[in-house]
Subunit: 438 residues, 2 copies
Amino acid sequence: MKITDIIEKKKNNKALSQSEIEFFINGVTDNSVADYQTAALLMAICINGMNAEETFFLTKAMIDSGDVIDTSFAGGIVCDKHSTGGVSDTVTPIVVPALAAAGLKVIKMSGRGLSHTGGTIDKMESISGFKAQLTEAEIKEAVSKSGAVIIEQSKSLAPADKILYGLRDVTATVDSIPLIASSIMSKKLASGSDIILLDVKYGSGAFMKTAKQALELAKCMVGIGTSYGKKCAALITSMQQPLTESIGCNLEMQSAVNVLRGEKNDLYTLSKEICARIFILAGLFLNTKTAFAAFDNLMQSGAVLQKFNQIIQNQGGDTSSLNRLKPAFNHKEIKSDSGGYVVQINAEAVGKAVATLGGGRIKKHDVIDKSAGIKLKIRINDYINTGDTVATLYCDDGAKIADAESILKDFYKLSPQRAKEHKLIYAYVDGLGATVKK
Amino acid sequence: MKITDIIEKKKNNKALSQSEIEFFINGVTDNSVADYQTAALLMAICINGMNAEETFFLTKAMIDSGDVIDTSFAGGIVCDKHSTGGVSDTVTPIVVPALAAAGLKVIKMSGRGLSHTGGTIDKMESISGFKAQLTEAEIKEAVSKSGAVIIEQSKSLAPADKILYGLRDVTATVDSIPLIASSIMSKKLASGSDIILLDVKYGSGAFMKTAKQALELAKCMVGIGTSYGKKCAALITSMQQPLTESIGCNLEMQSAVNVLRGEKNDLYTLSKEICARIFILAGLFLNTKTAFAAFDNLMQSGAVLQKFNQIIQNQGGDTSSLNRLKPAFNHKEIKSDSGGYVVQINAEAVGKAVATLGGGRIKKHDVIDKSAGIKLKIRINDYINTGDTVATLYCDDGAKIADAESILKDFYKLSPQRAKEHKLIYAYVDGLGATVKK
């Protein structure tokens, strides 16, 4: 088999066979296929696409390029959730203990953030002493004690994906549904969970700008997971505005703790939706009504907060530090120079402003400033008056605040009329199809 | 400007601007655009194409990446011909002296062969003492004496093309009309001639398998040359069978000498067509009838042979060695095991067999065995009987002869009926359009 013949075939818009896809991915992994050959094939895939079968074979070959985690030690139904990424998307510290509180097992592998704000692991490390890199023995012990761990994703999962991912960024081959879907799913499936609930974001703060694109990606990923023999489903949720008012590591962890302690907001609603869907996939409840109620009960009883504290302690964290989560002391308020209904918030601009404040990584090895962040005072359809504060920027470096301020110029739009009702949960997709919420 | 934005644009099937194409080619030349980025863009061009304007800008940017030869020292109309390559295509030793004999100037830059048989320079070096690398002073002296030189193409022409060419081969991005056309034309136009006559081959022994593809390529190249302000035209000619019966360096040079000494065959006919078209482009004659007659006269008078001998002597060659051009002594005849009309000859298989005998390069730095080669005893529509010799293989290494024999298995097809008439010259294309021969 020759890699040039495989590239040629995809260039001519023909479907690749499983053995051709395996040959390609093995060659990427062992470096016998050169970067420029991979780039040429990625571009051909980007333009000519891949059918569902090819996308599954690609995902499977990438899974097989590395380790597949054996989670059978957990002794129960192992579940996982994955978000395609947005601004102030901090559901993990709520969802993971809630699932564990319901008796499910969670070996949550998360990443660090690149672009915009920090990733889940960066946020968890706002808790003093929290360790995200555990040994196998430590993982087993924590899961047997509390049913859940939140750890940094192993580098040995889907190494071929890592190579493709790096190349895609520099060859303008990022926006391809089969490539995005196989990249995400290869790592998720290699993590060894029985149930995978995907949260596919759309809107100004997400990679997918429209609900339609998000739906297409969701269907593709659910198809892959189902073909691999897993219970897999997806929610399509809005990232038209940041999920909560707090953006930045300390601020986001603080808002998660607030929800764990009783606050109700979009973060609560989304966490509930995700957990309820997983409860149903796991067979704990038959419909969303009972599953939602179960989540509310677990939260209200304090069982989820207790589980959260256990998880932190299992991983060396100091739970008392949760009361000391604070943004930087130095801050600046941005005031509105007009009045009206907030009809649009540029979540991407907010994310970029946080990165500029030091709260995210611009380059891979940047150190995140946990105390940098933004508190938004507006949400879509709030009414504001001239002179109202719309955001507070936190950072010890005044120059960075000035830079972030310029990024935030015109980051929201006002109108005399309210915007059409904002829907946080747009649709649900499982192996049987998609249900768009009314 | 960012290369990823340019790749993205072509991926989305949009036309690139001149400045974007220049940015790309400058980046390729100074190495600021990585190989994998070039490969991704080449693939996007391959699939989505380029319009005539983009193709011209690409060619111009590649010309500007290196030297452009100033041929004004020649003191006359400088002309050039270029063949897209075929098997036993040895017109240069006839065409160049014929043009010079007609008073035109020729600074013919040729290449060495890769794949199949040797290139023009390899064949010229069958003449003992012949030097293809001349200093600028030597070139000027030779041209002022005899009006023509045949030299190895300078490495300083279109260096960007060299990089693209190398990458295309290993990324399955070879068969793109804009990429092929710009690659050929960048080197031709940088060579500084006033008139360029292209010989675009089609058929089993050519890169373009059909006349239609060849016509498309020819129109594209003529368009580029004309836009660059040159007199440029193209012939579409058949490579359904090797141009002559002799394939291999010594054998081909011998068959060129035979034509110069009076033999009439397809090599004569094609050389005449090429020269006549250039005569007309140069304004020496008004139509093919008078131009053809002029070529016949120059050949018959011995003026072309005399010019050929001068060119060889100017470049250190020993003209007496022309009488000693011989294939290897060791040889093997292949006989036909059936009878009928020859309706098909696989010219590509013949080329590959010659390469296997050592008469071509498999890898870039292979040394060509000038004495290796094949003499075909058949041409399309010959009638042969069982037991007739169809080819003789020449090589001092018996093992190579056996390998070549296996490549030549079934290289021709016989039929009780003749094939439809074989047309050597299929069409002529100039700035005004294409004329397909009746």
